[in-house]
């Protein structure tokens, strides 16, 4: 019996186009990505309307957690290498080569100088465990106070890289005195300009800043 033959369609779909899209997106993400830096503590920064983005290089980051512990970090690995040499010389810590190398790859420091050598001698996973309960870098309101380790860190870091921009990333619930110690120490070095890291929030309507922001956009 003759009956109409339906043409059979192949179930194969051409994947080339989809493959193109997938790799295009992949390329975008690979280029746009910047890995989350290893953070010693979780910090919830307060919000502000400031829209200045954080610069990528030459940053000294001072993290303050809810308990007021201070952690110190700088971004460049080479700079970290120079820094530990300076610190080693200044504080006479007698660090070995391996301990210095350990410092160069470590993300941040929250240990007083007295414990620094024993901390750097530990393998990386144990360093992390120690950092969780670290006392933080001791600071004081006066630069000249003998226990103001933070002042030493800042001085050494600024000697290795004078272009360093100082950023304070503090938790919203950190008490004011702990942040004030950092500010006072910076003032002691005649650093009056620094950055506070914040989240972005919307400008409340009807305020001076709101009018300002909208006026700039209108003339175009």
């Amino acid at each position: 019996m003759p009956h109409a033959k339906l043409p059979r369609k192949s179930t194969n779909i051409d994947m080339t186009a989809m493959c193109d899209v997938a790799f295009l997106l992949l390329t975008f993400f690979m280029l746009a990505t910047k890995f989350k830096p290893d953070e010693p503590v979780v910090v919830k920064t307060p919000a502000s309307i400031s829209e200045i983005p954080l610069p990528d290089v030459d940053i000294m980051l001072l993290t303050v957690d809810t308990r007021g512990r201070i952690f110190f970090s700088i971004d460049n690995k080479l700079m970290r290498n120079d820094l530990i040499n300076v610190i080693d010389y200044d504080k006479d810590l007698k660090l070995t080569k391996e301990e210095k190398a350990s410092f160069a790859i470590d993300a941040s420091e929250g240990i007083p100088f007295s414990q620094l050598k024993s901390y750097l001698a530990l393998p990386p996973d144990q360093q992390k465990a120690m950092e969780v309960n670290a006392p933080g870098i001791p600071a004081d309101t006066s630069v000249l106070a003998p226990n103001n380790d933070l002042a030493e860190w800042i001085k050494a870091a600024r000697n290795t890289n004078p272009k360093l921009r100082i950023c304070i990333k503090a938790d919203g619930d950190a008490s004011y005195p702990s942040v004030s110690k950092i500010i006072k120490t910076l003032e002691g070095y005649k650093i009056f300009k620094f950055n506070l890291i914040t989240n972005l929030k919307a400008i409340p309507s009807g305020t001076a800043a709101y009018q300002d922001a909208n006026q700039v956009k209108k003339p175009s």
Partner: protein, 199 residues
């Protein structure tokens, strides 16, 4: 289509005696490659930090230990608004700088809320100063000045909120100053006076 057409169609015909070599398809199954692509995309999407943190630039007033006392207090009483940050995100404020011990300032309490918060007070103060400038009571160079004095019980978020209010309300002159014992006493007195009301 991306693959080549390998079936002989319009090409020249070969002679009847020529055997056709069996042609293999040049099509490759791209599905695993797409899978791999999307897997990597997912990985990068999760590890990336697209939202860059924002910063707030802050300029502290220049401080010199050798500076003379009389050089420091050059702000006029009438342009100044002193704000004290205290515990539980409470904000105390008063007009002027309370330099005259015989005239204690009228300390009021508020908070950071959107309505009837400290912002309204700052706007009010700014309008007052503008009016005084217009009437000639103040020179053209006088600006509303806000003195921020964080108490030891205040938190960092209070400070950032306050600095943010400065930029929100376009206050150009402000300073973060250590709280004095006098101001601490003002807070204590106000707290004591208000205590029965709060409980």
């Amino acid at each position: 289509m991306a693959e080549m057409d390998t079936s002989s169609g319009g090409g020249h015909k070969k002679g009847p005696g020529v055997k056709k070599g069996k042609k293999l398809s040049t099509r490759i199954d791209l599905t695993p490659m797409v899978d791999l692509g999307f897997l990597l995309i997912t990985f990068f999407m999760y590890t990336t930090t697209l939202a860059k943190p924002k910063t707030m630039e802050i300029n502290m007033p220049y401080k010199d230990p050798n500076m003379k006392q009389e050089d420091q207090n050059k702000i006029k009483e009438s342009v100044a608004l002193t704000i004290l940050l205290s515990k539980n995100h409470r904000v105390y404020y008063y007009e002027g700088m309370a330099t005259d011990p015989n005239k204690p300032p009228d300390l009021k309490v508020t908070n950071f809320s959107q309505k009837d918060g400290i912002r309204d007070e700052i706007i009010k103060k700014k309008k007052e100063v503008d009016a005084m400038k217009a009437s000639g009571a103040l020179g053209p160079k006088d600006e509303t000045t806000v003195l921020i004095k964080p108490d030891t019980t205040s938190t960092y978020s209070d400070l950032v909120n306050m600095l943010d209010e400065m930029s929100i309300n376009d206050i150009k002159v402000y300073a973060i100053i250590d709280i004095t014992d006098i101001d601490q006493n003002f807070i204590k007195e106000t707290e004591a006076a208000n205590a029965p009301v709060h409980q």
